[in-house]
Structure formats: C-alpha cells, structure tokens
Amino acid sequence: MRDVAIIGVGMTSFGELWNQGIRDIFAEAALNAMKDAGVTKLDSMYVGAMSSGLYAGQEHIASVMADYIGQRGVPSTRVESACASGGLAVKSAFIEVASGMSDIVLAGGVEKMWDADDGSAILATASDQEWEAYHGVTFPGLYAMMARVYMDRYGLTREELARIPVKAHRHAINNPNAQYPHPMTIETVLKSSMVADPLRLMDCSPITDGAACVILCPLDRAGEFTKNPVKIKAIGAATGPIALHDHKDLTRLDAVHSSAQRAYNMAGVGPGDIDFVEVHDCFSIAEILVAEVLGFFEYGTGGKAIAEGQATYGGKIVINPSGGLKAKGHPVGATGVAQIIEATEQLQHRAGKRQIENAKLGLTQNMGGSGGSSIVHILEAV
C-alpha cells in the first residue's frame, strides 16, 4: 500500500447559500481545492452526500459534479453513510490512491439542506425508519435519550452541558467559513427553545448548505504540488446498530470505539499522541460521548472536563478548533471532509487565529446517525 497525502483543500462558506444550488456549491469547493493543489485534471473522484435526492431533488450526483467541475469522462463515485458520507468519500479516495489504481483523486462532500422543507423527516431517514422514525422520534430525540442516561448516571448538570456549545461558538469566532461565528452565553443556551428534552435548540447543530473537497495523491508525488503536504497516516471505519435501542449501553458509541482502535492501531499511536481533534458534535452530548470513547477522558468524566475548559486552547486537548458542527455548521455530507480540511490547515500551520501551536498529529471523527457508522482519520504533518 502506498502512503497517501493531501495536497489541496477547498470549501464554501457554510450557511444559508440561497443563491447557489447543489452543483454550484460543490463546484466552488472542488475548484478551490484543485486550485490549492495546482491540478487541473483528476484521475478519479468521490462525492459524499447523505440525501441529495430528498434535500435537493437530484440523485446521480457523482456524474453531475464531474461534469460541472470540468472532469467529464472521469470515473466518479457517490458514497453514502448518512452524516459520515464525507469521511467515507475521503476513505474511498485514500484506498484508490493507496492501492496504486489512481494518482490524483478528489474526495468531496456536499449537502444542500435549505432547499428542502421537512428537514427533520429527511434526517430521520438516517435512523431506523421502521422501528424508530415510525414512532415519531427525531435525531435530537435520540441524542436526548443518550444525554438523559449520561446525566442521570454521571451527574452532569444541564448548566455544564450548556458549556459545550458555548465553547464551540468561541472557537468558531476565528473561522471565516463558519455559519455562526458569534459568541454564545450559557444563558442563551439554557433559554433557547426546547427541541427534545433535555436538549434545546442551542445544543443542536444547525441546518447548513455547504461543500468541502480535498485532493489526494501518493505521498512520493506530493512534492510536485505542494511544499507542505499532509499525510493520511491512518483510517479506521466501523458500523454499529442503526437503532439506538440496539446499543447495549446508550452512552457508549461502539462504532466510534472500533473505528478509533483501528485507526490508532494502523497509525501506531494512542490518544496521548494526538495534538488536536475534530469530532462529530452533532449535539452537545455527542462531543462528550465521542471524546470519551476516543480515549481522551475516562468514561463519565468527559462532560465535566470539557465544561471546565479541558477541550479548548490551554486545556488537555483542543476539541473542534473549527467551531465544530455546532457553530461551523453541519451540511451533513460535507462535514467529514470539512473536518479533514480543518485538520490539514492546522497541520500546515495556516489556521490563522485558530492555530494550535506545534500541531503535528491530528484526528478527525465523523459519525453517521446515532452511532450506526463512524470513520476516524489520523493526519500527520510531513
């Protein structure tokens, strides 16, 4: 297997992009990434999207996107793993480059969420449609049930939980692509409208339009395109039960655990070696559960540790320097790629005011549904 590097990144601003359609935002991100890498011709490409059909009325988007980024004729594959579709696109492109099949491969993700009306129903298709969504439970509802068990078992208070989105927004202030780069107070979180008890609106990641793309090539060719490539040191992926009620312990995300162990083993590192992480904080409670299962905090201690400042600059480890899904935005199919972009920019020391000093090894974790899938990447400065 060949070593694989990231040689270019590009994304749209995340937000309500009313004047751009799904192909416009994907093209903007892809062309930015190709410009960043200095390439005009791709050998192959992957497009991650959770539900372009339901959100934007367009399937068959792998071909649409190839055509609209000037790559008509190039093999293009759409991949889907709910909110982990972006991570899956990067994994798929990695395998194609590592195998020797192709050299210059684009991995992108896109979601055009603001074109659709009943977003809750569309998102719920990533849960168990017959045995969860049929009974009216929403994604906020599923994570609310995780939060309730965690708070009951470990004594995390509602006020402590509110500090997680506050931290996310503080990080996003320095991210020019963030949807909500605004300060947030604990009081605002606690007074925001109830979505699914005990989770309130400000515990939830937003509805977002956006696209993100990276260009991969063999590490030994990376020097042709960039002075500071970033190596994809390891990838770990795993599946879990799609229905939350089939998880043995509602606070343990087994798929995240398995995907992380596979990535740690492939990289030959452990959580203590990682300088920063981008995790899938689709809800405030998700950041806690993921941080624990990745090994950064003991089970049951992550909530209070993050509330006390252990996951920000100057703490134990910076979690979500980008602002995360909560404040940067969560265009579901694009999120996993956007995490890779944040990690790449941190490792290239071009993250501006968000820059983490001496960042050499970063980890990204992208999750589908309520833990039905998870993809972890470990990236290294070269």
Partner: protein, 129 residues
C-alpha cells in the same frame, strides 16, 4: 407516502408483538434472520407480553411534519420483560411522571396518518403501569 404493503408486512410485529427468541436467549422484535450478537440462525417465534421497563426517554417538541399535531409527545427506549429492545411513544400520562426505570405496558394505538388522504397506520404505544 408509501404503498400499503410497506406497512401491512409489519403487522405481525406492530399489532401483535410477534418477535423471535434465538437459541442464545436473545429476543428481537424486528424480523432478523441471524442473531447479531451470536451469529445463531435458529429461533422460535415469541409473542411479547408487552410489559417492560423504560431505559431512557425524551419529550419531542419539534417533530417531523407528520407528527406535528401530537407535539409535544414523549418517546422512550423500552426493554421488554423478555429482553427485547424497542422505541415507542409514552402516552396518557404527564411527562414529569416518566422516569428511567418506570414500568410500562404496550397497548395498540394509531401511530400516524400519511398526510390528508394517506392511509392510517397503527402499532404499539406505551402507558405507565
């Protein structure tokens, strides 16, 4: 909107709680051909008693459009006395009375209507006992 067969095929599970008990003792409500825990393929049909315990719960305030008229409504993850896990609405009670560990019983109820002219769909909901 879906064709009626999408719903009628689940009638044994949704109306009559007809599940499966694998040789391992694991019990499931949705039809499974293989026990995900053990890989076992042999099972006996089992009709669940409908009695169970709440493992966690929430109150949905912002549902999908189909369920908007019911909101807010309570939803719980329930483990039945036989060991099957399922998700169901909890009805006919004050939300404040629902606790982790509350005992419930599943009853037959209308679940939802598919729009103004779609079919009516039925299944189980839980009540506190």
């Amino acid at each position: 909107m879906a064709n009626s067969q999408r719903y009628t095929r689940e009638i044994p599970r949704r109306y009559r709680l007809e599940g499966q008990r694998f040789v391992s003792g694991n019990v499931y409500l949705p039809m499974r051909y293989i026990d995900p825990e053990t890989g076992e393929r042999k099972f006996d049909p089992i009709r669940l008693s409908g009695k169970g315990t709440i493992l966690s719960f929430t109150e949905i305030h912002i549902p999908a459009d189909t369920y908007a008229r019911e909101a807010p409504f309570a939803v719980a993850i329930i483990e039945t006395d036989e060991g099957a896990r399922l998700t169901a609405q909890v009805v006919d009670c004050n939300f404040e009375d629902i606790k982790i560990g509350s005992k419930v019983e599943l009853i037959f109820r209308k679940i939802m209507e598919e729009g103004n002219s779609g079919i009516l769909n039925y299944g189980y909901k839980a009540i506190l006992v």
